[in-house]
Symmetry: C2
DNA sequence: ATCTCGAACTTGTCAATGACAAGATCAACG
DNA sequence: CGTTGATCTTGTCATTGACAAGTTCGAGAT
């Protein structure tokens, strides 16, 4: 086995995200992550400093991916909303960390930049509606974010419908009527 | 000091909720909670079994309080929505635990009963609207839940407005137009 | 009044964890 | 070849959650 791993930082993030999806954020063990990657328990300390550093990296990565996903879906509010929900469910581990201010280093420049990028895409869709665009944007964000977290919390009765279908219907209630 | 505390269970929950509001769920130390209350570190194990037991008790308590708050606000969807948001912000510590399935004992009877009670109040308001009442109810729940979590995450720019005012405006976008 | 018994706590212990310190290995470059 | 900095390791410490076993107390039976 090579001494230098090569992609240690990315590997650690990936394994951590998987562990978070499986067991939840607060049961994440840094030592366990290091073990599954195959490095010593102190290797992650070098890359992330401490626990908060790891979460900050995960959140930064998450916001960048969110921005990409939202930029790709360019067909009105409902499509963007579905894209938001789809990301939240597919990338559940990252999504969970992204909106937990106490877990991350709030003044990290990379984090702030990634958040700003995602935020810009998010706010763009609400400007064209009638009424207060700020309130409209907030309402749009709230409804897709709420659906996402409720779905991930497992409290939504699906009744056979997929998350995409339900999310689309829910998003449509907001503006398209 | 008396050997028997009298309200140890409630005291432990209260202190734990405060600690959660201050430091987040995953930094909650059972031993620290016990220290603040003034009992030994094993006292809470007697009442709650383990960490998950404590969180289950907190969530149960939370859903009961939520139900009470929602039942008290009986003036249409917007009022109920504002009550939901107000609870989520004022009782942030409990609210955080309530929607984290990995933290609680999902098959606890008291928890399920409390959830069912809150859920009943929640679903009642959506039946009178036109369209699919299930989708409408889900949309309503999503928008107030999303606003609550986003607000608690600190990512909403308030611009001087109170949470109540903003929540009311946002909720109004959904149906009252 | 005292005995009994179960509920409500306590002290003691253990493996695991996150943080930190100090050392080892390696790659690139002068 | 020797140095230098990045990357990773071993070692250590206080703290933590879980568990085991003992202690204190109160209420009801006798």
């Amino acid at each position: 086995m090579a001494y230098h791993h090569g992609h240690l930082r990315e590997s650690l993030i990936d394994v951590a995200v998987e562990a978070i999806e499986h067991d939840g954020v607060d049961r994440l063990s840094l030592r366990d992550v290091a073990r599954t990657v195959g490095v010593s328990h102190a290797a992650s300390a070098y890359h992330f400093g401490d626990r908060k550093g790891l979460f900050t990296a995960i959140a930064t990565d998450g916001f960048q991916r969110l921005a990409v996903a939202l930029e790709a879906a360019d067909g009105g509010f409902v499509d963007a909303g579905v894209a938001y929900v789809r990301f939240a469910i597919a990338d559940r581990g990252r999504f969970e960390v992204m909106f937990r201010p106490e877990l991350v280093n709030g003044d990290d420049p990379a984090l702030l930049a990634a958040m700003a990028r995602a935020s810009a895409v998010l706010g763009a869709g609400a400007a064209e509606r009638s009424g207060d665009s700020r309130v409209n944007g907030l309402a749009a964000w709230s409804i897709v974010h709420g659906f996402s977290t409720l779905w991930n919390a497992g409290v939504i009765r699906a009744d056979g419908a997929t998350a995409d279908e339900l999310a689309s219907s829910v998003a449509a209630v907001l503006f398209e009527r």
